[in-house]
Point group: C2
Chain length 199, copies 2
DNA sequence: CGGTGACGTTAATGATGACTAACATCCTCG
DNA sequence: CGAGGATGTTAGTCATCATTAACGTCACCG
């Protein structure tokens, strides 16, 4: 009858299971796609079997929704913080680039899921995710507009999407270069591409 | 009892149905993913119902395999032809860029499927597709190596993948700019990014 | 101790979906 | 005309899967 047993495995950090599930699901979704992964697969990946997941999420789509919402929020929040902290547009762009590159290299599965599986998110959450994505893009466009006035926003928006494509491709071309070499390369390429787009 | 009726709908160009099916399937796969599309969906899209497809393809995976194989072949063949026709490396790179941009803007669904669904192709064909993709990349790396000697091939390979990510993102960011504006923008951005990667 | 809540487990249940079977059409060629 | 082949159709069949039900376990709190 001691409360000595405070460590071990019990008294799990609350929510640790949820995030463990989200992580495993992200990896699986990234590798095989939402419909290519079964609830049972996810359960197995976290050491429980199948329906145990319903203790943590109301369903497969809800799980995906929470995953994408979390990603969008992190990206947007980080971008907003970095931009407001930067002294000028030049450094704001650097900060945005660094943030996106860190995220893409640090969480390849999340990036992959983020730009492939929006279509499988049910409607209440879908709109919210889209909204955050839009805000994130506008963060970039605003900075770029300041850096390249005279360049039409539509062009800058297209350029931004293209740069996302460039940076987010790193999860797929994994292994070509070590991350220490990859990050500066991506930064340099993205910067050059944006400078060219700005004219 | 005339054979006057040579036109109309009968006497279909042989194979027209097959390619019609492949087109429809590509659009559906691009939009919802391989596992998100049913045989019935594809049938409906071409005006027949479900199992009629088995008259043309041995199964869903075989259909995907043929689709990806065809894309890889077209990309590789076009690249090889353009490179050998080009007088120098500079123009070879231009030709490669133009080819990829034309393809990405002209067949957005094919590009999307091409870099998402390889994992669902069964093994005999998978290897073949990978081989063609590798050859395609090497076509780029070879040209870039000539243009930027001294730059390690691994870096050029990574840069090539990144540029594919940039160019292939156009299907997703559709609508930002008209294609006439999009193509030159992508060309300029890709060129700048590659020049930067080459040092 | 008794109970409550968090977390799992193993059987349904009910859809959906790939693929096959059995059965037309109809065009073409002999 | 009549056989053959190409192309469809509709009703199975059999898996797989998401979700739910019914039933433990166990830690903790009163």
């Amino acid at each position: 009858m001691r409360e000595v047993t405070t460590a071990q495995t019990p008294t799990r950090n609350r929510g640790s299971r949820r995030t463990e599930i989200l992580d495993a699901a992200a990896r699986l979704f990234a590798a095989r796609g939402f419909h290519g992964v079964s609830i049972e697969d996810i359960g197995t990946a976290v050491g429980t079997s199948g329906p145990a997941l319903y203790r943590h999420f109301s369903g497969k789509e809800a799980l995906l929704a929470e995953m994408l919402l979390d990603i969008s929020e992190r990206l947007h929040a980080s971008a907003a913080a970095r931009v407001t902290a930067a002294p000028d547009a030049e450094q704001a762009l650097d900060a945005l680039l660094n943030g996106q590159i860190e995220f893409a290299l640090g969480h390849p599965a999340l990036i992959t899921v983020h730009d492939r599986e929006l279509g499988n998110v049910p409607e209440p959450a879908r709109r919210q995710i889209r909204r955050l994505q839009r805000l994130y893009v506008e963060e970039w466009v605003t900075v770029l507009s300041e850096l390249y006035p005279g360049c039409p926003p539509a062009r800058l928006r297209a350029a931004t999407h293209a740069v996302f494509g460039l940076l987010n491709s790193t999860p797929h071309s994994a292994g070509e270069l070590p991350p220490e070499a990859m990050a500066p390369l991506m930064r340099a390429m993205a910067r050059a591409a944006l400078a060219e787009a700005g004219n």
